[in-house]
């Protein structure tokens, strides 16, 4: 199973395989059928499955979300794609008031197997309205599942699960991750909720990185290694339902937890994970926690401010150093070129 694919191609393959397997799968959203094909993730699908099953839409996020729900009620499995998660703010009513609640408020008579693909943007001065990752909103509300795969392998497996899941699933993609490539089996497979992944085992600290921050956590782990701090890096993959047990076990072992959100920290995934771990370990194990994420500001486009806005491997390593040694800004690693960010040119 040595085949390598990009994250983009992994999404495309998952969608293709599911559409071939199940004629009830339909894919739509703004620009889904245009020459850019959503970064390539929908390339060729319309030619293969026709304009009834794959189509671009008017600019109507709220309406099209309600339409997706209606399709699902009629037995289809719609996938609604948004090139920016920020636009989901136009669709909150249908997502939260209808999709998340339909099964329950109709006493189980209906279900809503909708997949919402939402992309998180970063850099190139996209600024205030093209940079948000609002997954904590959907973790907060019962009735929606949330997944943020970071590897091409999970990108494919999680999307296949999401399409087959009989409940609404919010599938979050970071545009930088689109450029990652990795091993992806050709055969169809599902990565289902329930199991977080321990990416690297470690002794001294538990590092949980969400979405793209997973990459920065791995960088941090390398930096920390160089000074003898052993970090256990965990990728939760599914944020709702969340496999907290894996994190709790790790934290019990390391006694230290650092969660790095790919969003703001207040009422974020990191708050939830920190609170859960505190509740679960209190009285049995004294632990140290630290949350990182976006600066508590709007995202600025000016490059130097943008760099300050986001966490990165070095900042994470530095924070973990302090967590371990009880220092304050005790250490900041030198930039290591071989750990450089994946080269990409914006705007994305």
């Amino acid at each position: 199973m040595e085949r390598k694919l990009s994250y983009v191609d992994a999404i495309r393959e998952a969608t293709d395989q599911e559409m071939a397997r199940d004629s009830s799968v339909v894919v739509f959203g703004l620009d889904v059928d245009d020459p850019k094909a959503i970064q390539g993730t929908t390339r060729g699908l319309q030619e293969k499955y026709g304009p009834e099953r794959v189509f671009g839409t008017p600019l109507s996020e709220d309406g099209m979300t309600g339409i997706a729900i209606g399709m699902a009620l009629a037995g289809l499995r719609p996938m609604h794609i948004h090139i920016r998660m920020d636009f989901l703010l136009l669709a909150m009513n249908q997502l939260i008031n209808v999709a998340a609640k339909a099964r329950y408020m109709y006493g189980g008579q209906v279900h809503v197997p909708v997949v919402v693909r939402a992309m998180i943007g970063k850099s190139w001065g996209q600024g205030a309205q093209h940079s948000q990752a609002l997954y904590s909103f959907f973790m907060h509300v019962p009735g929606v599942k949330v997944v943020a795969p970071t590897t091409p392998y999970d990108a494919k497996g999680c999307l296949i699960h999401a399409i087959r899941d009989n409940d609404p699933v919010l599938y979050i993609e970071h545009r930088i991750l689109h450029f990652q490539s990795g091993l992806v089996p050709e055969a169809s497979y599902a990565v289902s909720p329930g199991k977080a992944r321990i990416v690297t085992a470690g002794r001294d600290v538990t590092l949980v990185g969400i979405s793209y921050m997973q990459v920065e956590c791995i960088r941090a782990q390398r930096y920390l290694q160089s000074i003898g701090i052993s970090a256990e890096v965990i990728d939760p993959i599914w944020l709702s339902p969340l496999d907290i047990d894996t994190v709790v076990q790790s934290a019990r072992k390391t006694g230290r937890l650092c969660v790095v959100d790919n969003g703001w920290t207040t009422c974020g995934a990191g708050s939830e994970i920190a609170a859960l771990v505190a509740e679960r370990l209190q009285g049995t194990r004294d632990i140290r926690v630290c949350r990182m994420g976006f600066a508590p500001t709007t995202c600025p486009p000016s490059p130097p401010l943008e760099n300050l806005f986001y966490p990165n491997g070095r900042k994470i390593a530095s924070a973990v150093y302090d967590l371990v040694n009880g220092t304050k800004n005790g250490w900041m690693p030198e930039e290591r070129p071989e750990l450089q960010e994946i080269e990409f040119k914006g705007p994305f």
């Binding site: 309406g63 209606g70 006493g107």
Partner: protein, 325 residues
């Protein structure tokens, strides 16, 4: 009375069927209003009293496999489309035997087996859902018509605009039924838009639109019926109808509300005089009518008894149906 479009049955059959529905719905809601002060129904009730003609006239031309979506004011629609009466009353009582196991309440009636695909407490949300359902019906080559019911207020929401545009773009087999009762809660239509031109706006989406005056169940049946027939014969949708009607009682709750002063008894008078339950009732032989009424009365008594006797959901029900088990 407008003529009945030719169909293979005597008009008296039609009259009695319409009357049965009109009477049934009216009596059910009168009973709800009677029981309400006892607090046995702990759910906000938006009664359709006065507006039954719209749901009844439309559903008269629908088949079981056709599908309707409604608003929180969904009792008449639910019943007219064939929704189970016992399950409806039990739902209002919050009993596990309710159509949503007591997890929906009065504003979210559903009976998917009879094509009642749900109702929302958030204005204008089910219109988009109906359009999506119609897209699926078209894609699946199913021989079914989808009907979306909503109030005049719903037409002001952005979701309405987006739903209209898409339904028109894709020529979907959906019929939009705007129940224009002139008010959104206590706000008159003309406090919310410059003119009463709902049909003009619908036409701006390149769809056929028609206003039906006078809360006229026969005309509604007639006009919507021909739209349904064209859809069945393969013509493309959508169609839009603005049905003028009037709410006799308060926006939510069992009482009249003329004392509030936002509308006058005089305004209501012509509508009450022309109450379809009475006018259609007059078209039927008294004997037949009494037979219909007593049958309905009995069924309604039975449904409320059923609700009373049914048990509340078990505690574990709180946690089921959030996700698939």
């Amino acid at each position: 009375m407008p003529a009945i479009s030719p169909m293979s049955e005597t008009s008296s059959d039609i009259y009695s069927r319409l009357y049965r529905q009109l009477y049934r719905i009216r009596r059910v809601e009168e009973e709800i209003a009677r029981v309400y002060p006892t607090d046995k129904i702990k759910s906000p009730v938006h009664l359709s009293v006065g507006q039954e003609a719209v749901a009844v006239g439309v559903c008269e031309v629908l088949r079981p496999e056709d599908v309707v979506f409604g608003s929180y004011r969904c009792h008449a629609l639910y019943l007219a489309k064939g929704g189970d009466l016992r399950k409806m009353i039990a739902e209002l009582y919050g009993k596990v035997s309710g159509c949503a196991k007591g997890k929906g309440g009065s504003m979210h009636l559903i009976d998917s087996a009879h094509g009642v695909m749900g109702a929302s407490a958030v204005v204008a949300t089910t219109t988009a859902n109906a359009v999506g359902y119609a897209y699926a019906v078209k894609l699946q080559r199913r021989d079914a018509v989808v009907v979306s019911f909503f109030g005049d207020g719903a037409t002001e929401e952005g979701a309405f605009h987006e739903s209209m545009n898409f339904a028109s773009l894709k020529n979907l087999p959906v019929i939009f039924i705007c129940e224009n009762n002139l008010y959104a809660i206590h706000a008159h239509l003309l406090q919310r838009r410059k003119s009463s031109n709902i049909c003009e706006r619908a036409r701006a989406y390149d769809m056929r639109a028609e206003r039906i005056e006078g809360n006229d169940v026969l005309r509604i049946r007639d006009r919507v019926g021909s739209a349904v027939n064209s859809l069945r014969s393969g013509e493309q949708g959508p169609f839009f109808f603005e049905c003028m009607t009037y709410r006799f009682l308060e926006h939510v709750g069992p009482n009249e509300d003329f004392h509030l002063g936002y509308r006058s008894r005089e305004e209501a008078e012509p509508w009450v005089k022309n109450d379809p339950v009475t006018t259609i009732g007059k078209l039927i032989h008294p004997k037949l009518r009494r037979r219909i009424e007593s049958r309905e009365d009995a069924e309604i008594l039975d449904a409320f008894a059923f609700a009373e006797e049914s048990s509340f959901p078990d505690e574990c029900e709180l946690y089921t149906d959030v996700f698939e088990a």
